[in-house]
Structures are given as C-alpha cells and as structure tokens.
C-alpha cells in the first residue's frame, strides 16, 4: 500500500510538473481560453481573438504537488500499524 501511495505521489508530482512545463510554464492562474491579438487591415485596430485552450498555471502545479506531498506523507504514516497507532 505504502509503495503504491509513493508511486502515485511521484507520478502525480511528475505529471503536474510535466503538464505545467508542456503548456508553457505559465506563472499565473490556469487559463482555459487563449487570446491572441490580430490586426484589422482596414482600420488598423488590434483586436483580441479568443479560442478554447488550456494553459496550466501555478495553481494547478501547486495543487498537484500538494496532493502528491499528502499522499507521500500518508505512505510514511502507514509504514507500520504500530507506529501510527502509537503516535495517536
């Protein structure tokens, strides 16, 4: 069980980091829309064009690493039944 929890924690931490890096290592909130500026040739106005897209932010990275840390912590807690019960 503890091995499974540690593997799960490691996998989750790696996945969070990989997704964050792969979507551009954005240092803000997670985006579900991507806005790009375009130029209207007639008026010369720069205007935003928004499309659906996903950019992982620090909230997603932090959340993933946080849950991974909790899972890793639980794996230590469950190392021996005695130790956890003694702590209580």
């Amino acid at each position: 069980m503890r091995r499974f929890l540690r593997q799960l924690a490691l996998g989750l931490a790696l996945l969070s980091g990989a997704v964050w890096l792969a979507t551009g290592a954005h240092r803000g909130w997670t985006h579900t829309e991507i806005t790009e500026m375009r130029l209207d040739a007639i008026t010369g106005i720069e205007y935003p064009e928004t499309r659906k897209g996903f950019v992982a932010g620090l909230d997603l990275l932090g959340g993933g690493l946080g849950v991974a840390a909790v899972l890793a912590g639980l794996s230590f807690c469950g190392r021996t039944k005695k130790s956890c019960q003694t702590e209580r």
């Binding site: 909130w29 985006h31 007639i42 935003p48």
Partner: protein, 214 residues
C-alpha cells in the same frame, strides 16, 4: 392697403422650407453619425490591473453606440460608446465568474458601461488623424464620473466599402483612447487588497464606427 396679399405668405413658407433644406444640407457641414455596432467583432476595450502580486489582463468586445463626427469641426463631436458588461472576459474561468459577480462588476444589475462625450477640447489635426481631449461622463456599476481622456480620431473616408466587401459604401471613424480609472471611484470591490488586485485600471479603447451612405 391692409388687404393681405395671398401670395406672400405662401412664398414665405416656400422660402422657409428652402432655407431649412439648405441648412440641413451636407454642403453646410459634413457631420456624420457613426454607428459602432460591430458585426466583425473587432471593436474592443482592453483592461489591465497590475498589482504587485498579480497582473490581470482582460478584454471586452460587446461594444455599441453612436458618435456624431465632422472631420471639419471635430470639436463638435458628440456621442456615446456603450460596453456590455457581460462581454468582459479574462482567461481564467473562475476569475471571470468573480469579476462579473456582485462584488466586482455586478453585470446582472449593471449590464452596461457607458462613456458619453460632453466636451471636446485641445483639438489637433494631422491629415486624417485628429487628437483631442474629450471630457465625458463614464458610468460604471451605477456610478457616473466626469473625466477627461486623450482621444485619437481617424476618419477613413470611403473605406466602409473595403470593410464590407462592397456591400455598403461610406466612411469609417476609428476612435482610440487610453486612460486610467480608480476601482474605488466606481465602487468595484473597494475592500479588495491592492497587492492582489490593483487599484488603478488601465483601459485601452479601440473602436471603429461606420457611416453608410444611402
């Protein structure tokens, strides 16, 4: 002598009508009404809040309104630009939901943000471009405040045809303005910490209106 001449009153009416037509004629002034409802979705307002801990960038696209503009007398410009509050968007969905909610923009109760021009001053011309200081009333979230903003007008004569693939003929008027407002002045969650949400909102307005010729 006192007998009325039946022809004179009629002639007076005709002369009056002719004078009225002449005064209303475009020969005496080229004021045009530009409609800023934009089916192409190009008109936009960009807003930026740059706080020490967080920068928020967003746009609004639901723009309409009418402006009367005369390239020969830009100081007589009048009109109103309307931004639909619900069209404001930021890339994070939760942040957008909060922004349009009751504590912030309260889009349900205050569906429109308006700027109505009251006075145009310090007009400077440079070809098709006119820069001026426009004093107007900005109404947002139920609060109206008078402010003066630098505005650049660009009159694009006969360019409507190019924009509509020849379906309509007429002129275009491009209005660009950059100004800052304070969140607290309009009651936009004044209690929110300024290290996370900046007190100053920088607004960039870029809109084009059309005046079709019939």
């Amino acid at each position: 002598m006192n007998k009325k001449n039946p022809i004179l009153p009629k002639a007076g009416r005709v002369a009056g009508a002719c004078l009225g037509l002449l005064l209303a004629s475009p020969l005496w002034g080229a004021s045009q009404v530009f409609d800023f409802k934009d089916p192409k979705g190009v008109n936009n307002a960009v807003f930026k809040l740059d706080a020490p801990l967080e920068a928020i960038n967003g746009t609004a696209s639901g723009i309409s309104g009418k402006v009367t503009f005369d390239p020969d007398a830009p100081e007589r410009t009048q009109g109103k630009i309307v931004v639909e509050t619900a069209s404001m968007t930021v890339p994070n969905p939760m942040m957008k939901q909060h922004m349009l909610g009751g504590q912030w923009m309260d889009a349900e109760k205050h569906p429109e943000i308006t700027f109505e021009a009251l006075k145009v001053a310090r007009v400077q011309r440079d070809g098709d471009h006119v820069t001026a200081q426009v004093t107007g009333r900005l109404a947002m979230r139920g609060v109206a405040r008078e402010l003066t903003v630098p505005v650049k007008f660009t009159h694009l004569k006969d360019k409507l045809g190019a924009r509509t693939n020849g379906q309509m003929q007429g002129d275009l008027l491009v209005i660009r303005a950059e100004f800052k407002v304070k969140r607290a002045d309009f009651g936009i969650n004044p209690a929110a910490p300024t290290d996370k949400v900046a007190e100053e909102i920088a607004i960039t307005l870029s809109v084009a209106g059309a005046a079709p010729r019939s």
